[in-house]
Symmetry: C2
Subunit: 332 residues, 2 copies
């Protein structure tokens, strides 16, 4: 495949408000650790008033994946809606700076979406997302030209919470009918899987989704089993290409009966797990695009994710390409 | 002295847009390395379009000093003007989070001020400041109650570029007449000293300014000499309490014939010098408030500054109080 963009991602355009908190803060505020919770404007303001000084930077699951892909040298594009405000300016600047093709899609009446991300000392992040402008993503914002110029179109699972965005997914599926353009979907988090299990399973079973990305908890939730091996056995039957991350245990790439497990070097200093799964997807998709096998593609995902968890913020900050080259994954 | 606030700082309320650039970028864009340049809205947009992904956080010279003072356990307050926009929300949140008393003073017609700070690999920062709402600070924004509840009132020298803010300074000086409230002024940068040398010298000579903060370049510029020792000899004659920082060479505290030189442990990993001088002032003022002598107060400034240059951003991120306690500066 050799269209203009080797990856197009679609998701909620979000500014992350990163703040360090003690472990106790999570429980004291009735939050589920490591989960993403949708909050309204008032809840956002109340939580914000309780937290320490923060650092702001661009985020958003699928946007992170596009940025990571761009940093790895891939040709990425992005679709997501923002407001004409300072957070929108930051978001569109940072996408362009990461060489991601993004024509800002402005909507009115709501601020750019934001997420207060509470980072505990163990590097886990508990997200409190206030969806503003990104909530309005709908079929009307889908540019057919961009869709048909993309080899792989990746959707963050969070979009399933938003009926107009779910319609945008259908619209895109219709647009690419008869082409060899691939659809990838991340499972987002286990609550998302619980909420939309049937839809995800149908889309996998009927071949609409070509590639899924998820973690151990999400794949177990998808098949409603408590055991990882059983979940993967169920998943194998669907014959969908799957990349499942397992934290310090590495990742598994699976396609039917083929199952490749890759391990990662331990990280002594986990700073912030924000974006780890997103950047894993950047790496794995980059591997596939470069013609690597499943095992090497998963390894590339692990290398990228391993870098991003060693600093605050969801985007790679060192020369990720060098790290990848050092790993000798690409044929010369 | 034991008023409600032991330190009140007055300055430009600014959001820092921190971005890493290569050394070459500074020259290619015709910038003076390590200086602060005032830019307009269009120049800001043009520069922003050229730089990589950024991180946003609260800044502003005098605001940094208040935050550092608050982190050290002191009772700090702040005066500065912002807009009712997202950057204004970030600024006022971060001041409150740092326990700095700040009643947001909103002005209309301009966005909250921002500064694109280019951080080169040596940790030096080149600032490109677009003054929006903070430019409107004027005597009408000065709350007499807060002024008279403060032991020390600290002004960033950058305010001298702004005639209404300069009037606010005069207004404050009039309000505190007959009290023992002290006035401290930072010399900001050498261009600022060049522009307002006569005014600064008059205010020192006539006893309006009680304490000055500056660095080696600024004190040389103040007395128009090329040699540090000569500058300090001239400064001694004014009998103004002075804290002059010298980068890796430490700092000098001077009052008339008394001159105390303190050295600092070398820092192997300078990440970002943003706010080093501001936080030095937090430490030194905290020392004075705690009744420390000049030498120990300067040492406290050095310890605080040394911490802040080892990470991105102008605010202390570790438990600065612990660092200070380890140095055994305070009597038990």
């Amino acid at each position: 495949m050799s269209r203009k963009y080797s990856l197009l991602t679609v998701g909620n355009a979000i500014i992350d408000i990163l703040v360090k908190v003690e472990e106790k803060f999570i429980g004291d505020n009735g939050l589920d650790k490591s989960a993403m919770k949708l909050v309204d404007a008032q809840e956002t303001a109340e939580l914000y008033a309780k937290v320490d000084e923060a650092t702001e930077r661009s985020g958003g699951s699928a946007a992170n994946t596009a940025v990571g892909y761009g940093v790895l040298g891939g040709k990425a594009a992005y679709i997501g809606t923002i407001a004409k405000d300072q957070f929108g300016t930051i978001f569109s600047h940072d996408m362009k700076a990461a060489k991601v093709a993004y024509n800002p899609i402005y909507v009115e009446g709501k601020p750019t979406s934001q997420s207060i991300i509470l980072v505990t000392p163990d590097g886990e992040r508990t997200m409190n997302t206030y969806l503003g402008a990104s909530l309005d993503l709908s079929p009307e914002h889908i540019d057919k030209e961009i869709i048909l110029q993309s080899d792989v179109i990746y959707f963050e699972g969070y979009l399933w919470y938003q009926p107009p965005a779910r319609l945008a997914f259908d619209h895109i599926v219709k647009l690419i009918k008869g082409t060899d353009i691939k659809i990838a979907v991340s499972l987002a988090d286990q609550f998302c899987v619980d909420a939309f299990r049937d839809d995800f399973k149908n889309l996998i079973a009927n071949g609409t989704i070509d590639i899924i990305f998820g973690n151990e908890d999400e794949i177990k939730a998808l098949y409603e089993v408590s055991d990882f091996e059983t979940a993967m056995q169920e998943n194998a039957k669907t014959n969908v290409l799957s990349f499942i991350t397992r934290g310090a245990k590495g990742a598994v790439a699976q396609l039917g009966n083929i199952s490749e497990t890759v391990s990662v070097d331990p990280v002594s200093n986990i700073v912030d797990l924000t974006g780890a799964g997103d950047i894993f997807a950047s790496g794995a998709l980059c591997g596939l695009e470069r013609g690597l096998d499943l095992s090497k593609s998963a390894m590339l995902g692990c290398i990228a994710a391993r870098e991003v968890i060693q600093h605050m913020g969801p985007h790679p900050t060192v020369d990720l390409i060098k790290l990848v080259e050092q790993a000798n994954l690409f044929d010369k």
